[in-house]
Symmetry: C2
Subunit: 124 residues, 2 copies
C-alpha cells in the first residue's frame, strides 16, 4: 500500500501522538515521503520555496514519526508524531490557531481528564 503521487504532491496531516491535536498540514512528494519513512522524522516539499524541508532541521523542533496512515483514496497521509517543539513558525504549538467559527474545542484529553478529576473529587 503506497501513496499515489501520480497527480503531484499530496497533503500530510500531522497530529500530536500524545494529545491528538492537529499540528499542521504540509505537502510531500515521493522523495519527502521516503525520507520520512527512512529517517522516522518528517520531511516535506515546500511549494513556495520549491525545496525539501526537514522539519525542525534549523529550529530543532523536529517531529519523530510514531505512525503513518494512508486514506482510502491513497492521496492523503496522516502522520502521528512526537514533536520536539512547536509545529508553527510563529511559536504556536499548532498552526491552527485562528478561530473562524465556534470555540476552539478543548481536546478530548483535557475534557476527559477534567470530567474524571471531578468524579474523583466528588467521591472523596
Amino acid at each position: 500500500m503506497k501513496p499515489d503521487f501520480s497527480k503531484g504532491l499530496i497533503p500530510a496531516v500531522i497530529v500530536d501522538d500524545q494529545t491528538d491535536d492537529v499540528l499542521m498540514l504540509a505537502y510531500m512528494d515521493e522523495t519527502a515521503y521516503e525520507r520520512t519513512l527512512e529517517t522516522k522524522e518528517t520531511w516535506f516539499y515546500s511549494r513556495s520555496r520549491k525545496e525539501y524541508w526537514h522539519k525542525g532541521a534549523t529550529s530543532g523542533n523536529r517531529q519523530l514519526v510514531k505512525s503513518v496512515q494512508l486514506d482510502c483514496d491513497q492521496d492523503t497521509l496522516l502522520i502521528r508524531v512526537d514533536p520536539l517543539g512547536p509545529a508553527c513558525h510563529t511559536g504556536e504549538k499548532s498552526c491552527f490557531f485562528h478561530s473562524i467559527e465556534g470555540e476552539q474545542t478543548r481536546s478530548s484529553e483535557q475534557t476527559i481528564y477534567a470530567r474524571l478529576m471531578n468524579e474523583i473529587q466528588e467521591r472523596k
Copy 2:
C-alpha cells in the same frame, strides 16, 4: 480572517469533535466554504467529479460543524464536526484506515479512559 483561495482549492481536515479522530480530508473553494459556514454542515468541491458535494446528502452521514479553524498561512482549514455516520464511503468511520508504519495508536481518549479506570479500580 478568511481563507486564501487565490491559489485554488484548499484542503479541509475533518476531525471528530468528540473523539479527536481525523476522519477525512477534502477540498473547498470559496463557495463550498461559504455553504459550510451558512448551513453548519460540510460542503466540499470534488476534484474528480468537478462538482459541489454536500457530505452525507445521499448517505445521510452528514457532518455537523462544531468549529472552524484556519492555519497560519490561511490555506488549510481544520473543521471539527459531529458526524452522523461514517466519514468514509467504504463504511469505515475514518478514511485513514490503511496503516503504513507503526501501530494505529489508540486515541488519547481511549488511553486516558483506560488509565484512569485502572486508577479508580486500584483505589477501591
